[in-house]
Amino acid sequence: QQTIKLTAAAGHPPVFLWVKTLDEVFIPEVDRKLAAGGKYKIEWTKAFGGTLVKLGSESKGIADGVADLGVVSTLFEAAKFPLQNVSYYTPFGTDNIELMSQTIAGLQKNIPAMADAWNKNGLTYLGGMALDSYHIWTKFPITRIEDLNGKKISAPGPAANWIRGTGAVGVAGSLNTYYEDIKSGVSDGVVVFTTGAWGAKVHEVAPYVTKVNFGAQFAGGIAINKRRFEKLPPEVQAAIREAGDKWTAEYAKAQSALVDTRFKEMAAAGAKISELPEAERKRWADALSPVAKTWAADAQSKGLPADQVLNGYMNSLIKAGTKVPRDWSK
């Protein structure tokens, strides 16, 4: 039996399900498959929570060989994975996590430039993951978009585009700062995904939870160092690939279940959860600037087929039966 040493890394700590399932689904699945074959055994070193590679440099860390494989958060590496971030520029999509990762996987299969992002960065893509749908947590109730007028809302990065046009002022921040920002009054609320909001305990300071459903967002995947992968015995390669598929499916299932749990826990903790009426959701979407077009123009100028990605993306959401209040490709 041959022993192979592999180091798995992630910028996020294992409280996040995509890291937890890397540790508890992906790795055991590889081990199980190889144990069945009996020829190879992997000796894992695990370094999560940014102790080896930081968020924002995961792809470089893996490509350099500092780690062999791990989670790459494309959300935090937008310059390297511009097309993978399409969902962040097309808000009000689907809240179906699995549909989201399948949609991106389909685009990566059909549009070479999208798959190339991984190869060109020295990586082999093994599976993808989406964050659960974004909603809004505020100190005040929201029933119409006018309620946001003049309010300060934490909305970092691309999410700032989901706020601009509503009359609210966007404030920067991260999961680490939301709690203090809202508690102290630096902002009056935050646009964030449910499982992240629970982790940051946002509902303690912003108890009004309005389900706007900005949509689930593709945020990254598991990737392995390309050269290292190609040198592995075929049997090990196959085990790793299959474990990647299993991880993708299991993560999506587990994360969806977790969202329901988190909402229940928040309600039990006193949060006032309500759903934004469909008509208001449409008014909100219409109030925004054509952000997807801005994004596509920017990427096209860099020689990337962003229009094709945008069209393909909207088409596959609509084809899957998603009721989108605004078709961003139009």
């Binding site: 180091t7 700590p13 294992p14 409280v15 070193t45 695990k46 370094a47 999560f48 929570g49 940014g50 102790t51 080896l52 590679v53 930081k54 924002g56 440099s57 470089k60 860390g61 350099d64 060989g65 500092v66 991260s174 999961l175 680490n176 700062t177 709690y179 203090e180 920002d181 508690k183 102290s184 009054g185 630096v186 629970w198 982790g199 940051a200 305990k201 303690e204 300071v205």
Partner: protein, 439 residues
């Protein structure tokens, strides 16, 4: 050679090289480079790891305001705000031996409500308190020890960056964690004050240089002068605390606002010329850089350790050993304190908690209390050699104004480190102390 042996070897070499006088940051960087090279058998990987850490270990908003906290400290000192405050404190506490030490602890406890990081406390009070204590005849190493020791209050009394990080990793309420830190923070402050009193009475040589100075009642300031001298510091702390608690700005932004207010005070008091202001800024830069570069290199070392799998092996062994709850807690705390001697605070949480929290949950420990224990244990690392961040911040901030050897500084801090260990034991024995303010 196994990676664990490489990691262990690097630790021994680190102690030797630092003792021999190699720059601490360079020592950490060099050993990590060689370590990664040996573990991976590839020099390029090692070089890339170093380059990556250089570009991303300090690139954070929270860390970015450190120079502003340092600047605030310098300006406060330059405007004689610190001097005046301590003259008042000296008069108020003149009948208490070690009074200025106690004043430093008390002032730090108040400042802790402003800042979320201990480096800020250390930088500010090095400029404000150390020169005054020296002026009034205190031992240099005692002065440094008090500032280092009380700087840990910065992350125990809310707001606290470490508590926020713990809250994240453990799925606990940050608000509850903050509340739980208040009583332990005050206990620690009182314990520090007690230790200062004890030293001043039983071992005055540890506190004062030479003879104990007699109390001189004739040169007392009138009450009105005392109030006038207190005004600027009250204004500064009041505006920052007020700003944070009314939601005008965050504890992170307080660094910038504090620097601005301190600058205004210095200008109004006509203590600052363009030339001296430039001097203050330059000095701020040097302190920030020497601390930041240390943090970068310590982070590189942490990455090397993570790659070696040593912490993981240690923790897995702990998990598999089938310990009882008391044994688990004691070993956990010992491991945290040991890691604290060489790696930085947040890295310890990130390495330890994912593996330790499930065990703590199995034992049905209260995770808020566990968080307080963890933060106190981690903070001890700020004071312990060879990598004691608070000491390094103080050393950098003092610059060449006061020459105290590093070893001497660590010795001066030892009584406070021991006090922290005692308070930690107390908090472990009586969870109620941490939980009493929670409903």
């Amino acid at each position: 050679m196994s990676s664990e042996i490489i990691a262990l070897g690097s630790l021994v070499l680190m102690l030797a090289l630092i003792y021999a006088g190699m720059h601490v940051a360079i020592t950490l960087g060099l050993l990590s480079f060689v370590g990664v090279w040996l573990i991976r058998g590839d020099m390029d990987i090692a070089a890339n790891l170093l380059a990556q850490a250089v570009s991303d270990s300090i690139a954070s908003h929270i860390f970015g305001v450190v120079p502003l906290f340092v600047l605030t400290g310098f300006l406060v000192a330059y405007a004689d705000v610190g001097k005046d405050a301590f003259e008042v404190a000296n008069q108020a506490f003149r009948r208490i031996r070690g009074g200025l030490g106690i004043a430093t602890v008390a002032a730090n406890a108040v400042f802790a409500a402003i800042t979320g990081i201990s480096i800020a406390s250390a930088a500010v009070f090095t400029r404000v308190a150390v020169p005054q204590m020296l002026r009034f005849g205190y031992q240099p190493r005692f002065a440094v020890g008090v500032v280092a020791g009380s700087s840990v209050l910065g992350m125990l009394i809310p707001p606290s960056l470490l508590m926020i990080l713990y809250g994240f990793l453990s799925d606990q309420s940050v608000g509850d964690l903050f509340t739980a830190g208040i009583v332990p923070g005050l206990i620690l402050a009182v314990a520090f004050a007690g230790v200062i009193l004890l030293m001043a009475w039983w071992r005055p040589g540890m506190v004062y240089v030479g003879e104990l100075q007699p109390v001189d009642d004739e040169a007392l300031m009138p009450l009105s002068e005392m109030l006038l001298k207190m005004l600027p510091i009250v204004l500064l702390i009041g505006s920052i605390l007020g700003g944070i608690y009314t939601g005008l700005f965050t504890a992170t932004e307080a660094g910038a606002v504090g620097a601005l207010v301190a600058l205004l005070i210095a200008l109004v008091r006509r203590k600052l010329t363009l030339r001296s202001f430039w001097g203050v800024l330059t000095e701020t830069g040097h302190v920030t850089v020497s601390v930041s570069f240390l943090i970068i290199c310590a982070n590189i070392y942490t990455r090397m350790l993570a790659m070696s799998g040593t912490p993981q092996a240690m923790l897995e062994w702990m998990g598999a050993a089938g310990l009882g709850v008391v044994a688990f807690l004691v070993i956990y705390v010992v491991v945290v304190v040991l890691l604290g001697t060489i790696i930085d605070s947040s890295s310890i949480l990130l390495i330890m908690l994912p593996l330790m929290l499930p065990i703590a949950q199995q034992f049905e420990l209260n995770l808020i209390w566990f968080g307080v224990i963890t933060v106190v244990a981690v903070e001890i690392g700020l004071l312990t050699p060879p990598f004691g961040l608070s000491i390094y911040v103080i050393k950098s901030t003092l610059g060449r104004t006061v020459d105290i050897p590093l070893g001497e500084m660590f010795r001066g801090t030892a009584p406070f480190t021991l006090t922290m260990l005692a308070v930690l034991a107390l908090l472990m024995a009586f969870p109620q102390l941490s939980l009493m303010l929670l409903k």
